[in-house]
């Protein structure tokens, strides 16, 4: 029964992606609740699967078409996959019912038909991301990578105007990434004759062709690194996040790059770990991640525009996650996964909130947020909490995850570990500077003359508030989060790597 749910995890949102545009075109109305129901259902399935893996510590497999192992395609949700699936489906519920507005500063609301179509794209994105998390087949992973990418281009472009250009730039970078990855998979298949991850891991040690293996690892790593916005391959990210409509931006910024980071962890950290080039790639990732943490923080500090600042801080956060993946010790992985969860919640909250406000105001200048504390104290409090989490202040989830990362980098030692430690601390300082100046405006400055009053649409306010509550709960009960959510996922990977050593 639970295996069936694992199979439905991808099928349900995929069906939604076909169904919602259909309903929108035929009936116009109802997609909002259809989307919400469907995402909730998927989330329930993911929660059930996750609960089972957490309880038994065993992975739940679903063989597509009933074919075994390397012959067919296998979905398998271990603790790690289930955590990612849970995160993606859970966050999708928050944005599923939000109105899909046109671009920033739109004067008209989008038609229900258009909203239905965009909801379809969102559902497609969920299907793609959950698929990436669940599949054990490297080619199938490519297919889901393409599904999610196409859906994201659509979502970003639905902002209209400059968003279309941003989406196009994203499309070029994403296509280059997909091509590199596919080439790498081609190399692997040529060398081993299999696409199944477990089978690959078993057969790779017997492969003699060093140069070809190196090429495969390099291509796969570079391709996924683009998708995960690893510095210096992050060029697509700021524009895509900034110009997407608020709800889409909230969801994309929360999960998109992180799922690619998951894929990097799965492939480099697990399947390809035994190869010398794989270790080299991980080492490179630590350094590039460290640089990304600093550059992202510095660039965020320099932004005038609040959403753009958030986007650059995502570059910084992805750097932190990827450097921990690169370090690869169980402690570092725990930190990376905790940071994935904490950052997804906080960044989702911030993008929904700030993006939504920027849309109603027609401007993203952070000064537009001044005086929000008086006008909408609850929204302002929620944003404050999320910002605290981004800085890494207690008692928020971001604090706990930052600590884990710091500790992991210290425990790693060596020049890379110390550099990572210093960079992570510095990024907290930078984040304090750029978030506190926004918060100062929100709480202590009067609203500028002649600006329209800021107010978040209710459909966005609810997710913003609930995400902020989750950020807080995640920090207060960080021990619970770590025990119940993260440790199982770490064991799933660490167990695999321990076997190989």
């Amino acid at each position: 029964m639970i295996e069936a749910l694992a199979g439905l995890l991808v099928a349900l949102p995929l069906a939604g992606a076909a169904l919602m545009p259909m309903v929108a075109v035929l009936r116009r109305r109802g997609t909002r609740w259809l989307a919400f129901g469907l995402h909730l259902l998927t989330f329930a399935a993911a929660a059930a699967v996750f609960a089972r893996t957490a309880a038994t510590g065993e992975a739940i497999a679903h063989r597509m078409g009933g074919w075994p192992g390397p012959f067919g395609i296998e979905l398998r949700l271990d603790g790690l996959s289930a955590l990612i699936a849970l995160l993606v489906t859970g966050l999708s519920c928050f944005v599923a019912s939000a109105p899909v507005d046109a671009s920033r500063g739109a004067t008209r609301r989008a038609s229900p038909v258009r909203e239905g179509l965009v909801r379809g794209a969102l559902s497609m994105l969920v299907a793609g991301l959950v698929g990436i998390a669940a599949t054990r087949d490297v080619f199938n992973l490519f297919v889901f990578l393409e599904i999610s990418s196409l859906a994201v281009y659509t979502l970003v472009a639905s902002g209209g105007g400059r968003a279309t250009v941003a989406a196009f730039r994203y499309l070029i970078a994403g296509t280059a990434a997909g091509s590199l990855y596919l080439l790498g998979v081609g190399f692997l298949y040529g060398l081993t004759g299999t696409l199944n991850m477990d089978d690959l891991a078993a057969r790779l040690p017997g492969v003699e062709a060093d140069a070809a293996l190196t090429a495969a690892v390099a291509l796969i790593a570079a391709g996924l690194a683009i998708k995960a916005a690893l510095f210096p391959l992050h060029g697509w990210l700021p524009d895509a996040y900034v110009f997407a409509p608020a709800p889409a931006a909230g969801f994309i910024s929360a999960v998109m790059a992180k799922v690619s980071a998951y894929a990097l962890l799965r492939l480099l950290g697990e399947t390809l770990r035994g190869i010398p080039a794989g270790a080299m790639a991980l080492e490179t990732m630590v350094w590039l991640g460290t640089l990304g943490v600093l550059v992202g923080g510095g660039m965020a500090l320099a932004q005038r525009d609040a959403p753009r600042m958030l986007a650059w801080s995502s570059v910084s956060a992805m750097g932190a996650i990827l450097l921990a993946v690169g370090i690869g010790s169980p402690l570092a992985l725990a930190g990376a996964l905790f940071h994935v969860v904490a950052h997804a919640l906080a960044k989702g909250c911030l993008f929904l909130g700030v993006g939504g406000l920027a849309e109603t105001l027609g401007a993203g200048d952070r000064r537009a947020l001044r005086g929000l504390g008086r006008r909408a104290p609850w929204t302002a409090a929620a944003l404050t909490l999320a910002a605290f989490s981004m800085i890494g202040l207690p008692p928020t989830a971001g604090f706990s995850s930052k600590l884990l990362l710091l500790r992991a980098s210290l425990a790693e030692g060596g020049p890379a570990g110390v550099a990572a430690f210093v960079a992570l601390l510095a990024s907290s300082g930078l984040a304090a500077l750029y978030f506190l100046r926004v918060l100062e405006g929100i709480w202590f400055r009067p609203r500028p003359e002649g600006r329209p009053a800021q107010r978040l649409p209710r459909a966005l306010a609810a997710p913003v508030l609930s995400l902020a509550v989750l950020v807080l709960l995640g920090g207060v009960f960080s021990a619970v989060v770590e025990r119940e959510f993260v440790s199982g996922a770490v064991e799933a990977v660490a167990g695999a790597t321990a076997d190989e050593r």
Partner: protein, 583 residues
Amino acid sequence: MNPLDWLAIPPLAHPGLWLALGALVTAIATATGVLGRRAASAPGILFAALAVFAASRAPSGSVDFRVARFDLVWYHADDLSVLFALVFSIVTLLGLLYGAHRLGPGETVAALLYAASAVATVLAGDWITFFVFWEAMAITSVALIWQGGLPESRRAGMRYLLVHAAGGAALFVGIALHASASGGVLDLGRLAATGPPFWFLLVGVGLNAAIPPLHGWLTDAYPEASTTGAVFCSALTTKTAVYALLRVFPGAEILVSLGVAMALYGVVFAVIENDFRRLLGYHIISQVGFMVAGVGIGTELALNGAAAHAYSHILYKALLFMGAGALIEATGRRRLTDLGGVFRSMPVAAILYLVGALSISGAPLFNGFISKSMTLSAAGEAHFYFAELFLSLAAVGTFLSVGLKLPWFAFFGKDRGIAVRPLPVNLLAAMAITAGLCLLYGVRPDLLYRMLPFAASYDPFTAGHLASNVQLLVGAAVLFALGFRRLAPTPTRNLDADWIYRGRPGRIARPLVTGARALGPVAQAVRSGALTAANRAIVRLAAPGALATGAVRRDPFSFRTPIGRTVLLAAMVVGWLLLASRL
């Protein structure tokens, strides 16, 4: 259960929590308009009182918060940390009361957060927690200094921030080195005074303790804070550093010479200082020198002496800064050369100031005596005779400038007929309470001694101690009576270690300061400061030519990486991986 007993439960017993809560309540109440600007410090006073209460009955023991596998000991209470937490809370309460008539929301929040960080720093049980709050203290204290409101406050605050950022960097390099040397053990405990970790930690902590030549920030920035802000500043940052030294490097002999040097350095500069708050600032350095020397001596009596002296010092130094602030509020002047003969117009404040001055000079029956003579005795017993001699000399100098020169030229001396504004009741009440505490501990030293970390018994009221102190003071007083004209202040400023970054060498960093000076709020400070330069460098690397186009010049940071470059970079990453793993 008595509701107040709840305060004895560890999470609630943390005084920093109450101070931070006070800041939060103040921020919300004033931001939402529930509380007017004039009453902004009311909730703070209430919460500071709660903090004092919590600190006075804080149970010892430690509470670690298992955050993410990290044993963060955010509450580690033993005699030493509770002593500091208590006096920090008391001085916060007194400072808020002192400034209640003029504290706005911004300053109240900054002060409460600053005090909360300081309390949390001394209650931290591991290096990470310690470091986090240490840095928080630097940031919040800058925020407080900025509230001084003058253009010079902003500039001095910026310099303060940069210097402390450098100190924080040294500290965390030290922590990182220590952690990797000890295999990840991060408990805050005694460390060996050798090797690179020691030197980095010493620089990091020593900067906050204002050990020359790392003291320039103190005399540079404290006189630019508001009258109330200076009270908090004088009490918290340097004493947190003393706490850290007590905790980590007791008995490190280098500290004896450093401490003695500090004590004399501060005194000598104070003798020729004209700005009376800077003069008091030099005496912070001097008095901290006593404590540092005590830490270096390292016997139980010496450590007790250093802790007790920190406790006493916070009270009388707060009182002195309150008196100095009262002078500024009443006359609007801040230099000794501008003052004279105001005793008759403000006798209460002047007498209360004199209580503080006698305390710092170590006059018997005032609280400076009971702690200073402890340090001196400890130096003698441990055979640091020259240390004892020079510290006595510093004590003489202290009396000379704080006890004689400052009051003589400010309150007495030549009457310039200065118009004096009446002082508000809350200000005088705060001073009176502080003076009362100075006298109370001076008469009943056992009240302080029983809170000290070690059980070493000590009786300050022996005839020998009393005789020695009285004779020293009388000797100095006689000299002053004979030669006070030669000690008259002149309207000059003296070069000091802040020349390193403000004078000629500092011109190397001039772009920084230029940028910083042009900016009002933090935001813009950062924008065109060092980080701007860094960011421009990044922009140049990532998008050469981007700065030349008009759109980018308007906002150079919203540039877009050409997407082709991303693809090219991806190719380079692939190439690197191909090459590197074959090497």
